[in-house]
């Protein structure tokens, strides 16, 4: 590993850092890189930033699967639907699809605030506008009480059983 190359070729450094974090480097290169970053503040900061970035990219996001013509959205890990949450953006993204039958599994949503509720309603409006349907599945007790308090549950059908929820899309 060439010290000059690290600093003169940012893409090389980026690839090196990525492979170091993914533990894909051989022992010799690991040692050379560690010796380097121990005395190089710039490279250490780049390493830390890449680590944060990878953590951010890997943070819980929405997983989508299809059950016949219904799109089931589920959070890959504990999620918070609050202002500026990454999860909320992912949700919005899913609704950019012209798909109209959507079931959102809220089982892993640990927190929701007015921004999150607003977003759910925006998703619902979007679905209705496209002659579609949006339903909710498995809200936690906290989320459920908020849905009830805001009367959103009178608009958005909520289910505890996935099969039942999926079956409800067929009913007129």
């Amino acid at each position: 590993m060439d010290k000059m190359q690290i600093h003169e070729n940012p893409l090389f450094r980026e690839e090196l850092i990525r492979d170091y974090l993914l533990k894909r480097l051989d022992a010799e290169t690991v040692e050379a890189f560690e010796s380097h970053y121990l005395s190089c503040e710039e490279c250490f900061e780049e390493l830390r930033a890449s680590q944060m970035l990878m953590a951010g990219l890997g943070q819980s996001k929405v997983e989508a699967r299809r059950v016949e013509d219904i799109l089931v959205l589920q959070f890959a890990g504990p999620a918070q639907l609050t202002r500026q949450s990454f999860e909320l953006q992912e949700l919005q993204r899913a609704f950019q699809q012209p798909d109209t039958k959507v079931l959102i599994d809220l089982g892993r949503v640990t927190k929701i605030d007015s921004a999150g509720l607003g977003q759910l309603m925006a998703c619902y409006s979007h679905a209705v506008k496209n002659q579609g349907m949006l339903k909710l599945l498995n809200p936690t007790a906290e989320v459920r009480s908020l849905l009830r308090l805001t009367k959103i549950d009178s608009v958005l059908e909520t289910y505890d059983d996935e099969r039942q929820a999926l079956g409800s899309f067929d009913r007129p």
Binding site: E31, E34, S35, G58
Partner: protein, 171 residues
């Protein structure tokens, strides 16, 4: 060759990172290994064993490798005496710090454009080659480089700013 306290703290931070990388984030003895490395390093400095300041990083890394290896050997030779006994208590993870960090990262992610996120995700998470990403996203080599570094810089600026603002918001 002399080391000022500030430089020593920089070394401590980086050594902690290196030790965690090799022993795992949940190793309860990370700080002990770092401390032992620094003690040996300062002793070597005192005995004027480091003649070339340019090689300080390699020297420090070498000491740290020895400490890590010794730790592993010790762990291997001295497993828990009583197999039924519970493992030593680990220091509680700084949950508040982790949450703060996670939120800062999350906020930074939301402020990136979808294109930036796609590029970063393809490169860092999906481990795709530059050529493959360029082809899939219709980017030239130069455009890819610019987009990648700009996106990473933007992410870094936002999350650092978020972390700085946290204490101010709480007061």
């Amino acid at each position: 060759m002399e080391i000022d306290p500030g430089t020593l703290e920089h070394y401590r931070r980086k050594l902690r990172y290196k030790v965690r990388y090799h022993l795992g984030s949940f190793c309860p003895d990370v700080d002990d290994a770092v401390q032992e490395t620094l003690v040996r390093f300062l002793r070597a400095l005192k005995e004027e064993k480091i003649r070339n300041p340019e090689s300080t990083g390699a020297f420090l890394s070498g000491i740290c490798n020895n400490v890590i290896q010794e730790y592993r050997r010790r762990q291997w030779k001295e497993p828990l005496l009583d197999p039924d006994s519970s493992p030593p208590e680990r220091p509680a993870p700084p949950e508040a710090d982790l949450l703060e960090l996670r939120q800062a990262i999350s906020i930074a992610m939301t402020q990136l454009s979808q294109r930036d996120r796609d590029i970063l995700r393809a490169f860092f998470l999906e481990e795709r080659d530059k050529e493959e990403i360029c082809q899939a996203m219709d980017l030239s080599d130069a455009q890819f480089r610019v987009a990648l570094f700009r996106a990473k810089q933007r992410f870094r600026r936002i999350y650092q700013e978020e972390l700085k603002q946290k204490p101010r918001r709480e007061h």
